[in-house]
């Protein structure tokens, strides 16, 4: 009995001493940190995708609390996370529409010509720097997967020499947009269904020489979608572009495009 008591006392004594030392250390050596940084970091999805322009979620959280960034930049988190962040920071939330990446090229291996046999590292920028790339169209997707390699969600895959985005997995971080040497990836509203899959603004004859599905700027889509007043399409040189402020919804437009570059199936979705 006595032995047990001594043991208990000794252990308790050591414990009390240690606790005292730690308490003193905590008081005099502690580092102050804004608790909101921790809260904001926890609220963010932790994907560390960098889409907000910061080096990861923690970095963005710190910038938010320091006031150098505003909520609303987190694409993966969407509205729910942004509202949560606004609540933590005590500011009004701004709603954002979900955006997904779109590869504006339809030139698969069976549709667009290749002018050489590329032999080198499998990367679009490297291929583009080698004699301008092996694709006949100098605006088209090279298909060496630079976008797929940077995608944090593995939402891009290369099919038949062409990058395609998985609409369901894409978080709209925009990494692929900046890495593409041909600058043909764009973030578009997820709700839009009709897209122009071409990025070549030069004259028709030049386009048809290199690609079977390139836009020649015939304006037929505009005509079919209610003319210029309907404002569903804009044009850059000889290239049509969907006006994503006011996107068309008529599926028949795709069938009526003589070059088959207006498409409804621009994305794939997992599960389909």
């Amino acid at each position: 009995m006595n032995a047990i008591l001594i043991a208990i006392c000794v252990i308790a004594g050591i414990g009390a001493l240690a606790a005292l030392a730690l308490a003193i250390a905590d008081k005099y050596l502690a580092v102050q940190e804004d608790p909101r940084i921790g809260l904001a970091t926890a609220a963010l999805p932790g994907a560390n995708c960098g889409g907000c322009g910061f080096a990861g979620c923690a970095d963005y959280a710190r910038a938010l609390v320091e006031g150098t960034a505003a909520p609303g930049a987190c694409a993966p988190g969407g509205d729910a996370v942004n509202a949560e962040l606004a609540k933590i920071l005590g500011v009004a939330a701004t709603a954002t529409e979900r955006r997904v990446a779109l590869v504006k090229c339809g030139g698969t291996r069976s549709e667009a010509i290749r002018v050489g046999d590329y032999n080198g590292i499998c990367d679009c920028a490297a291929a583009a720097a080698t004699a301008g790339g092996d694709k006949g169209c100098r605006f088209g997707c090279l298909g060496y997967g630079a976008c797929a390699n940077v995608c944090p969600k593995h939402a891009i895959r290369i099919e038949d020499g062409l990058a395609v985005v998985d609409k369901r997995l894409c978080i709209g971080c925009g990494k692929c947009v900046s890495v593409c040497p041909r600058k043909l990836i764009e973030l578009v509203p997820a709700s839009a269904t009709i897209h122009v899959l071409c990025n070549n603004p030069v004259r028709g004859p030049e386009v048809t020489k290199v690609c079977g599905v390139g836009c020649i700027g015939c304006h037929l889509c505009e005509k079919n979608a209610g003319g210029k007043e309907a404002n569903h399409f804009t044009f850059n040189g000889f290239l049509a572009k969907v006006n994503y402020e006011n996107p068309p919804t008529d599926a028949a437009l795709a069938d009526k495009c003589p070059r088959k570059c207006i498409r409804e199936d621009a994305h794939f979705e997992t599960g389909n």
């Binding site: 069976s110 549709e111 667009a112 050489g116 046999d117 080198g120 006949g136 690609c211 079977g212």
Partner: protein, 327 residues
Amino acid sequence: MLPKQTAERYILSSSPHAHADASTSRIMLDVIIALLPALCCGVYFFGLRALILTGTCIAACLVTEGLCRLAMKRENTIGDLSAVVTGLLLALNLPPDLPVWMAAVGGVFAIGFAKQVFGGLGYNPFNPALSARAFMLISFTGAMTTWSSSAWTLSAGSTEAVTTATPLALIKKGAEGFDWSQAALIKDLFIGNVNGCIGEVSALALLIGAVYLLVRKVITWHIPVAFIGTVFLYAMFKGGVPPLVHVLSGGCVIGACFMATDYVTSPITAKGKLIFGCGCGLITMLIRTAPTGAYPEGVSFSILIMNALTPLINRFTQPKPFGKVKK
């Protein structure tokens, strides 16, 4: 629809568009050629059995390499001959009387566990043949330290007790009164008329191979010279057994010229190679001369340990860029 292709397509690639007559398989072939004299010596001294063991090791390595690549669903790399080199080196480091199945297990370990686990050639941190040898030494200690009685023709001052021992085992035992400095002994050690592993006995044959590799610029002089030099100096300062006996016995020459110089597991720069070689020599002698040590020979272990240090050596011996101003 695909537009009509107008002209024949050219190959597009980045400069340089010329390439030296060098390839991985050519380098490996050179190593194999360089090891042939040693193999021939082994067969001459230990008989056909040495050849059977060598064949077994190479076959085991090749089969394992092929199966691993198949299982990993990657391209077959038997053609780069690196598995043949591993098998050959492993065989040359085995006692000639080892059971054949043990040699096969060693080959499987070398390729399976020391190489393909890491993704194949170029990624393994340790020399596969040496890893396998160390593994076998610990797993089959008896068989790995039993020596053939066919060779070892030491005449002067010998006793029956030494007929089945290697020179290094004798050194470890501290054979009193043995005259280490006799010329006949040095000659036997140099020619290979002693006991030991299949390929390590003849320093002459190994040096011929090493010279071939140096001439072909497959290896540089740094590691072999640093390795053997360190062993020599250590033995000289330690006294007792003549330094030349230490250099010529055991796996010192084959280790310094063929195992330590393995590209994948040794440092890149000349400075790094010198450090690597010195380290190998030092650890070898530490293990060899420790009176209580468990092993009479330390070459394989020393190279393995220095293999482990290679990334750090590389890190601290990065070359200075041409034109770089010292800050």
